[in-house]
Subunit: 192 residues, 2 copies
């Protein structure tokens, strides 16, 4: 069954160890932020810093493993037609919108949408850290400068994550114009 | 007054808004991990992802501002004789030592030392995220590969942080050989 995440929104769900989450960009050039918690202990959560450390890379694709703050494997990328993702930047919040898009009315952003989605699982806002930003195209120049570029994903492109433990997962359709080339499209996902 | 952090250890203390923390590498080639919380609400903490986002860079030096998960300014670098720091990687824990140094007996690392130091302020372990790693020399190659290189700091080099709010601060002398060129030296700091 294919589930649809409406533009500028988010959802949360549980998966069992061994299940796969296929995240699809149905129209192309859209970003989806994913975050997860150990389903039986939410004090264990996805960690950008541990993952960058153990992968020894800021680039991710098939075979990359995403780790928890306790150094356990949480997700493994088992298929990927894009292999252009970001794990440096936090999801946009209302404050991020005020910073980067002062002319827009601030929206909750992926941060606010994930916070709302995780409320169902009694996960407090402060437990949400840097998300893995699927299809987000972030360039780091030789001088360290970070640039957010249009996603490389085309219509129908996907990334498949295998759960390495029972997880509570949050997933969004990106709200920030710069990240999705100002297209604000939906995201689709399947639990396999 | 100059305070000394013994090799492979850590401490925590409070500072008021406007006070400055001078972190000194007394012998050179040592790394110090810093982390902080809003002193009146520990649910607000230093955020790598927000800081990378707002600085639009993975490089930091004089003038760089370090932000909280709530997008508020926490620390500003107001003097810096090194300008080579890292804000990508999490502090080493026992599990990190098992991963990178399987031949060594695992030590608490900067993660464990910060967790212990923050206990005094009733801050739970899961609130500790990616630290700002002062003097840590991390190279990101064009292909995204991360390399940890010997620090560029020489004896007496320092970085000064100004507190932008009242803070609980944790600070360490690095325990991980690869980060400090296998020298395991002390760190000094002054509250100005």
């Amino acid at each position: 069954m294919t589930n649809r995440i409406a533009p500028r929104s988010g959802t949360a769900f549980t998966v069992k160890k061994g299940q796969k989450i296929k995240v699809i960009d149905p129209e192309g050039e859209q970003v989806s932020d994913i975050y997860c918690f150990n389903a039986i202990d939410i004090k264990e959560y996805l960690s950008s810093g541990r993952t960058l450390d153990y992968n020894e890379s800021i680039e991710f694709g098939k075979g990359s493993v995403l780790y928890s703050n306790r150094s356990n494997e949480m997700l493994e990328i088992v298929a990927d037609t894009v292999a252009s993702h970001d794990f440096l930047l936090t999801p946009c919040s209302k404050e991020t919108f005020r910073h980067f898009y002062p002319e827009e009315t601030p929206v909750p952003g992926c941060h606010g949408n994930l916070v709302n989605a995780f409320h169902e699982y009694d996960i407090p806002e402060e437990y949400l850290n840097t998300t893995f930003n699927i299809f987000m195209n972030v360039d780091v120049a030789a001088d360290g400068k970070i640039s957010v570029l249009p996603p490389k994903s085309k219509a129908g492109d996907y990334t498949v994550f295998e759960a390495k433990m029972d997880l509570i997962v949050g997933l969004t359709a990106c709200s920030a114009g710069e990240s999705n080339n100002f297209t604000y499209k939906p995201i689709e996902y399947e639990i396999i």
